[in-house]
Symmetry: C2
Subunit: 341 residues, 2 copies
C-alpha cells in the first residue's frame, strides 16, 4: 500500500524518526531507568519496540491499558500510575501472571487494592500538581497501612506534571528540584526501591527519580517540540485538501482526528486558521487533492482518536522535500489497541 | 445493569430528556424540514429514534457515516455535506440501493462524483464561513457543469457555521439573514428543490432553508446551552471520584473522554480547574467513590471518543436530586458505530 492509498485523515509515523527517538532515550535512560508511559500512544506494537530498546517495565494510566499490555505479552512489570476504587480487573491480571503495581493515595484506594487482589503498590505523593497523590506528610502512614494490609510497598511515585511543560529550562530545573525534594522526603518515610516520576520534559533533569515515566518522547508533539529536546516529530495526521480558494484551503482533518486541549495543530509553511469537526482551514491555498501533514499540538488525546497508525517509508524525506510523494510505501500498520476503558 | 456498575468514564443519556428534544424539534421542524446531522452523535440507534420522530433524510460528514447509516437501513436519503475527491465508496452505496447526495464546490469534486458513481449532488456555496463552498457567483456555472456531466443537481447547501453559535439572538438573526440572502441568490442560478442549511443555533431563525441540518439539539452541550434554546442537556460523562483532599477532588474523566476545543467541561455545583489525559480536577472536594456527571463543552468530538452510550432510567431525577443514585437502571446500551473514516 502507498501513502496515496490511505483513507484520510490517517496517522502516519516516520520509522527512522521513531527509531531515532527510541535510541536517543535508551542511551539517556537505559533499561529500567525508563518506565515508558503507554498512555501517550496506546499501541502495544509500539510498546514492543520500546521493549526491544531495552525497557521491560511500563507505565499505564487505565486498567484497559494494563489488560491490553498483559494480553500482548508485555505484562512483566506494569505500573498503573493512577488511583482506582475497584481493582478486581487488576487482580484478575495478577492471578493470570502479570506483575501489576498500583498507585494508592488514600485508605480507600489501599482497601480497593487489597480487596481487588492486587499485591504491590506505590504510594502516590502530591509533589505540587493538584491532581492525585496524598499530602506528603501522610505518605509514611499510608505505607504502614498498606503493609499492615498485606501489600508490598515498592516505593513512591510523584508526578511533576505542573513542571514538565515549562519552556524555560531554568524554571523546569527549579520546579523539578522542588518537587523531587518533596518526593524524596516522602520516600524516606515509605521505603521501597522505586522512586517513580518524571516525563518527557524532565527526563534529563530529574536525576532523583529511580525511573522516569516519559511517553511523548517516542512520537512527539508541537507542545514538547518547543522545549528543544533531542526527540523529533515522528507522527503526523495526513489529510487531503478537499476545497481551496485564492486565500485558503481546507483539508479533511478536524476535531475528531486531533487532540485540541493544547490548541490548534500546525502545518509546516502554513497558518492554521481553525478546525471544525472534520476540517482544518489554513492559508495559503493548496492544490485540491494534495496531501498535507498536520502536526498535533498534543499527542496523547490525538492518538486516542485513531484506530491505527501507519509506518511510512521515508516520510521524513517526503516532508523535508515539501512534496506530497503519494508513492511513499506504507511499511506496516499498527492498531492503537489500548483505547477505551 | 445499574448506573453504579458502569466502568467509568462512560457516556450516559437521560431517555426522557432525549425524547423531549426529539419531540420539540419534530414539532418545530417536522418530517423533511429537518435533515438531522448524524456527525453530532455518530450513533445509528439514535438516528433510528430520529426517524421514528418523522425525519427520513439525514446529513453526514464522512463517507464512513454514510456507509454505517446505509448498513443500518437508514440510507433512504443521505446527504454527505462535505467534499471528497474519491467518491468510489459512495458509488458503491448507490449501487447497493442507498440514495446518496454529495456536496460539490469545484470542478474537481464534480469529477470525483461522476467517476465515483454518485448520481446526485448539491452545490455547496460559501455563505460566510471560510471553509468549504464555492464562491457564490460560481454556483450557477458549477451546476451547469454538473448537469452536463450527467449529475442530477438537487439544489444548494450553505452552512452558516460562523453564525450558529452567536449568543445574541439579534446577531444570530442578522448573520443568518445575510448568509441566506447569499444562498438564495445562488439557488436562483442553480435550481433544484433543496436549500439545505442551518444548525441547532439557527433552527428556528433560518426560515429560508427548505431543510435544516441540526445535530446537537438531540443531546446538547454547554456551548449551545447558552443560547437559551428549548432543548435540554441529555448526555453526560459519568466519572468516579478517585482522589480527594480538603480543597479539591479528582475524577476519572479527562482529555480522552471529552472534546476540548470549546474549553473545559462543567460539573454542576463545582468549579472545574483543569483536565488531564484521564482526570478532571474540580472543587470543592467530593467523597471518594462517588459519581460525578460531567457536561461536555462540545458534543460532537466528545461522542467520537466513546465506543458506546448508555440510556439510564430517571437520570434527570438523579441529577436534580444531586444524589449519585448508583442504583438507577441502565435501560439500553447503544454503540457509537459511525466513528472513524
Amino acid at each position: 500500500m502507498l501513502l496515496g492509498d490511505l483513507t484520510t485523515p490517517a496517522l502516519v509515523v516516520d520509522p527512522g524518526t521513531l527509531q531515532h527517538n527510541l535510541t536517543a532515550m535508551a542511551e539517556a535512560l537505559p533499561g529500567e531507568r525508563l518506565r515508558p508511559h503507554v498512555k501517550a500512544h496506546k499501541c502495544t506494537s509500539l510498546a514492543l519496540r520500546q521493549r526491544e530498546a531495552g525497557h521491560r517495565s511500563f507505565t499505564c494510566a487505565t486498567i484497559r491499558e494494563c489488560e491490553g499490555m498483559a494480553a500482548a505479552g508485555l505484562g512483566e512489570d506494569l505500573l498503573l500510575a493512577n488511583e482506582v476504587l475497584d481493582a478486581r480487573r487488576l487482580g484478575a491480571l495478577v492471578e493470570a501472571g502479570a506483575r501489576i503495581t498500583l498507585a494508592v493515595d488514600s485508605e480507600e484506594t489501599i482497601a480497593a487494592a487489597t480487596s481487588g487482589g492486587v499485591r504491590e503498590v506505590l504510594i502516590d505523593v502530591n509533589v505540587g500538581l493538584p491532581r492525585c497523590g496524598c499530602a506528603p506528610p501522610d505518605a509514611g502512614r499510608l505505607a504502614d497501612l498498606a503493609r499492615a494490609r498485606g501489600l508490598a510497598v515498592r516505593g513512591v511515585m510523584g508526578y511533576e506534571g505542573h513542571v514538565v511543560g515549562l519552556e524555560e529550562t531554568a524554571e523546569r530545573i527549579a520546579g523539578c528540584t522542588a518537587s523531587m525534594e518533596i518526593l524524596l522526603a516522602a520516600h524516606e518515610q515509605v521505603g521501597g526501591s522505586l522512586v517513580s516520576a518524571g516525563g518527557t520534559g524532565t527526563y534529563a533533569i530529574n536525576t532523583w527519580a529511580s525511573e522516569i515515566q516519559a511517553g511523548t518522547y517516542v512520537l512527539m508533539d508541537t507542545a514538547y517540540e518547543r522545549l528543544g529536546l533531542p526527540f523529533r516529530q515522528a507522527v503526523f495526521v495526513v489529510a487531503t485538501v478537499i476545497s481551496s480558494t485564492d486565500g485558503y484551503a481546507v483539508a479533511d482533518c478536524g476535531l475528531k482526528a486531533l487532540g485540541m486541549d493544547h490548541g490548534n495543530p500546525s502545518i509546516a509553511g502554513s497558518e492554521v486558521w481553525f478546525c471544525s469537526d472534520e476540517h482544518v482551514t489554513f492559508a495559503p491555498a493548496a492544490p485540491l487533492g494534495s496531501r498535507v501533514f498536520v502536526l498535533p499540538a498534543h499527542l496523547d488525546p490525538t492518538l486516542a482518536l485513531h484506530e491505527r497508525l501507519h509506518l511510512v517509508e521515508g516520510l521524513a524525506d517526503v516532508l523535508s522535500a515539501g512534496a506530497p510523494a503519494k508513492d511513499a510505501e506504507v511499511l506496516d500498520t499498527w492498531p492503537i489497541d489500548l483505547r477505551g476503558w
